[in-house]
Amino acid sequence: MAEVLLKVKDLVKQFDGGTVLDGISFDVRRGEVIVVVGSSGCGKSTLLRCINALEPIQGGSVELGGEPVVYGSKNLARMRQQIGMVFQSYDLFPHMNVIDNILLAPLKVQKRNKSEARAEAMELLKRVGLEDKAESYPRQLSGGQKQRVAIVRALCMHPVLLLFDEVTAALDPEMVREVLDVMLDLAGQGRTMIIVTHEMQFARAIADRVLFIDNGKIVEDSDPDTFFESPKSDRAKQFLNIFNFERSK
């Protein structure tokens, strides 16, 4: 088995007195694809945001490659370079074209050589089928194209871990596929990813492990076939039932 890359231990997150994450613990090994599912508001997105310290946490710890990731700490910028994140909302910078969006952090944070970084960005854009959009502005792209650019922007930092926070939730159905295909491609390359999604068939296809979260706790942690075919908990059964429809006639 590959080594443990990410270690989340007893993570507690509270908002205004309410507990959103209540003692979350799990390990992610290098090359694993973890899909996190659960009903809206169960804390899945918050979990991702805590992993790269966009939120302060009230208890527990997050370690990446043996080093702690701590909100507001000095080494945070170095840790975040290793964690790529793609959000649900289109988060491209609207005043920059595609290539500048991608190159901002590699050039300003990692101080990389411009032509080398640019060549890599173009290569990645080609891989997601957007090499002709390098000079376009975000407003000229479809939702699916924007999300693919956001993925390239995250990849260009050479992260060891990728976080996807419901990246297809705001897309039209016909654009969902093109984004999911990019993610399947990344999984095929052996990248380590944590994916929050509501696309259950996709989850089953891409996941090595499924985490089911309910009320801020991990209720199930199993391989996708076990989770989707024979969930152990009633909550998971209930949750999966939402996606099944009986014939009405």
Binding site: L54, R78, F87, F93, H95, A105, A154
Partner: protein, 224 residues
């Protein structure tokens, strides 16, 4: 064609006098705008603070300046201050004071709006890409704020130039006052001059404000 009295324009230095008056109006606007922009940016930043005291004070200031007619403000600063405090300030200075107070309020509200209109995930995307808070502001937040702000503040300039037509009421000889003087002086020889001269004043305001409006519209389109 009826006599528009345009011949008066070419008598003596009338045209030059009108242009001089226009310059007075434009100069007062420009000085006021130049002062309003930095003050307005400060005010706008303060207005986004969550502190209830600064919130209330800035709100009252903004509402007061907006509700009061500019003419009343001009009278308060120019006439009342002289009697009450014994200040001897020129009409032009009084105008700059009032226009700056007004411009600062308007500009502050624009800055506040531009700042809060930048979505939270723009800050977070920067953070997630390991940009420092300073880099996030410098490369992401400020450029977007400025782009939203510039077209709006240019519109404020044209509104200010138009509103300078009020300052003749406190004795500043700007373009409209010069026009009145010219018309009065030629009442006997060219009784129709009122139409022609005011028409020229209208065209002058247009020639100044229209290009500024066009620039604002162009920038708005370019930076949409």
């Amino acid at each position: 064609m009826p006599d528009l009295g345009l011949d008066v324009l070419f008598k003596g230095k009338n045209m030059l006098r009108l242009l001089g008056g226009l310059w007075v109006a434009v100069r007062i606007s420009l000085i006021s705008v130049a002062l309003s922009i930095p003050l307005g940016i400060l005010l706008g930043i303060v207005m986004t603070w969550k502190n209830p005291v600064t919130k209330t004070v800035t709100r009252i200031y903004l509402e007061f300046i907006r509700i009061m007619p500019q003419l009343v403000l001009l009278f308060i600063v120019f006439f009342s201050s002289t009697r009450t405090f014994g200040w001897d300030i020129s009409g032009e200075l009084a105008s700059v004071i009032v226009f700056t107070a007004w411009g600062t309020a308007e500009m502050g509200d624009l800055v506040r709006g531009a700042l809060i209109s930048i979505p939270k995930h723009q800050y977070e995307s920067g953070a997630a890409l390991a940009l420092s808070p300073f880099q996030t502001y410098f490369y992401i937040i400020i450029p977007q704020t400025v782009r939203r702000l510039i077209p709006l503040s240019i519109n404020l300039v044209t509104r200010m130039i138009k509103t300078t037509s009020l300052i003749l009421m406190i004795g500043v000889v700007e373009v409209l006052k010069v026009a009145q003087q010219i018309i009065e002086a030629n009442r006997m020889s060219s009784p129709n001059a009122a139409f022609g001269i005011y028409l020229v004043v209208l065209i002058m305001y247009f020639m100044i404000c229209w290009p500024i409006s066009m620039l604002a519209r162009y920038l708005e389109k370019k930076w949409r």
